[in-house]
């Protein structure tokens, strides 16, 4: 990460999902998180990217995904924005309720919330922004240039 912030724009493709996961894994490692935390952060970013690509932008080649990483004093903050119709957090079913347990989808946001310390979902008419927060406690390798 160059300084404390890194951002990129990505296409609405499955490759973006893998790329977002790999970038998150690398930046989380550089930020001093342990192996389990790196896996959790990478998976949360993967799930957010899946939502953005599939449900937000619906693979539309004209629409982009914005991915941003910021290291603050207290947190690694990751923001994923899409250009879809907007996800209403109030309408996300609980995947743990008995009637939803055997559904084949609908666990992405739940996993993100399980793995991150705080999650903010900000829908608008121009898309959805999801912000993921993980409290930092290790020593970051500051000043490393991202290769994305």
């Amino acid at each position: 990460m160059s300084g404390d912030r890194f951002s990129c724009k990505l296409d609405s493709t499955l490759e973006t999902v893998d790329s977002a996961e790999q970038t998150a894994s690398r930046i989380a490692s550089e930020s001093g998180f342990d192996e389990d935390e790196v896996m959790q952060i990478a998976m949360a970013v993967r799930e957010a990217a899946v939502n953005a690509v599939l449900h937000g932008n619906a693979y539309d080649p004209e629409k982009k995904i914005e991915l941003e990483f910021e290291r603050t004093e207290d947190d690694l903050v990751i923001t994923i924005r899409d250009q879809g119709k907007g996800l209403d957090p109030a309408n996300i079913p609980d995947p743990l309720s008995p009637e939803n347990l055997l559904k084949t989808s609908g666990r992405g946001i739940f996993l993100i919330r399980s793995f991150m310390d705080d999650v903010q979902i900000n829908p608008s008419q121009t898309g959805t922004e999801i912000k993921l927060f993980k409290h930092v406690h290790g020593t970051a390798e500051g000043g490393k240039e991202a290769s994305q």
Partner: protein, 114 residues
């Protein structure tokens, strides 16, 4: 690494040895096709050996649920074998660990099929 599978038979049970990642895209499709193919051949006792599955995302979890319900709806049984810690933890937090019949020993898993 994308999902790779191979199948073998023991006492009427089809064991599917899986390795790699079960994730959105190719990994999930491979899993779906394997189960579909086995069911089309009448092989309805399926033991998924996930010992070398090092990563699974929500789509992969959904694919396991789909496989479980599809096999059950056709009068068969699907069990899981040798979960890695990551997959075990994911099934725990999604409350699916008690939905699936999870085994950690192949011999007893095979015997557990009716």
């Amino acid at each position: 690494m994308n999902l790779k599978t191979s199948t073998r038979q023991i006492d009427g049970v089809t064991i599917v040895d899986c390795s790699g990642r079960i994730t959105l895209g190719e990994g999930s499709v491979v899993m779906r096709d394997v189960v579909k193919d086995l069911l089309s051949k009448g092989q309805k006792k399926i033991l998924l050996n996930l010992g070398d599955v090092n990563y699974i995302d929500s789509s992969g979890i959904g694919e396991l649920v789909a496989a479980f319900t599809t096999v059950r709806n056709q009068g068969g049984e699907l069990k899981l074998l040798n979960l890695t810690k990551k997959v075990h933890d994911l099934l725990q937090i999604t409350k699916l660990y008690t939905v699936f019949d999870v085994k950690d020993d192949e011999t007893s898993a095979v015997k557990a099929f009716r």
